[in-house]
């Protein structure tokens, strides 16, 4: 997952796209060290352990769990990995670009 995500963030850095991590690795100080070591630059939520409040609220039973939202915040895809995940993001970005183009 990580190499794929890094490539995605790099490739889409000028696009209306955000990767948001909900992290369940524990104490923020420790997580921060790991993020620096792993050169993970995207936004994170510190959710504590796997029973953290967000993971519990969203009933996350396995890690990673992925939700892909369109620009309106609608859930469009769930639980995709790697190439499939990338394809879904591309599709939504194309959709957004087409909408913006149409509005102009």
């Amino acid at each position: 997952m990580l190499p794929h995500e890094k490539a995605l963030v790099q490739r889409l850095k000028d696009q209306p796209f955000a990767l948001l991590g909900i992290n369940s690795d524990g104490e923020p100080e420790e997580v921060k060290k790991m993020l620096v070591e792993q050169e993970i630059t995207w936004r994170q939520a510190m959710d504590g352990d796997t029973s953290g409040p967000l993971a519990t609220r969203w009933n996350v039973q396995g890690w990673p769990t992925i939700y892909i939202l369109d620009a309106e915040g609608k859930i469009r895809f769930r639980d995709l990995r790697d190439e499939e995940m990338e394809k879904a993001v591309n599709e939504l970005l194309a959709e957004l670009a087409a909408k913006k183009g149409g509005a102009r």
């Binding site: 992290n23 994170q44 939520a45 959710d47 609220r57 990673p64 769990t65 915040g73 609608k74």
Partner: protein
Amino acid sequence: MRSLLSFLLVGALAGLPVAAQTAAAAKAQVAPEQAKLDALVARFKKHQADCLAEYQKATSDEARNAALTRREGREFLPEFQALADEFPGTDAAGNALLWTLRIGIIERPAAQAVVARLMEEHMESELLSGLPGELAGRAAVIGQADVQRVLGELVEFSPHASVQGQALFVLGSQGLESKDAAARAKARAALERVVAEFGELENFRGKLGDQAGGMLFKLDKLQLGMVAPDFEATDENGVKWKLSDYKGKVVLLDFWGYW
């Protein structure tokens, strides 16, 4: 309940000479069957820890698999069963029966017999609050239909809220995945009861109310096509952010751990 009982016993013994008092109190606190069970559980746990250490030191797949198989502790199964037979009806016996369900290799007839015996001999005991969790983990061995029936009986016949709540939670979380709409509706009702009446009970993942709430939340709010509910979070530098800050962008939300 147990601590209140010991407190009363200690109080009742206050008039005795110190030595006799200590010995009697110790005796009163740990029944022989309980002491035997504690020793057996300690041996079983040590066995598992030893096998785990062996697994971690192993250098071949073969050695690793052998360590994992040994870790199941097949040889402990008859010991727990014998203890249950020796002291029938006691809480130690009931707990020994629960332990047999935790040992990885128990087979269907034996598992069904254990469950039947727990239901017959221990329905009045709160120790059955440990049963729903074991049934959840053993549903494939025991059979889904039997598990559902037993859970239903626990809700109906146990006098203890903790047993009822744990049973409802497992009933709800299992039925939610059912293909049958009526079963799903029943599961939802069970989870709603857990949230309303048994929310403070806990299992190894925390409070049942939070978990049941999450299951209902996912069902109602996290389906494809729905607008993702907003949330507030804090990043590793203590900076707060909200999901809605990212409106207008395609968002990939990744629940993850590096572990």
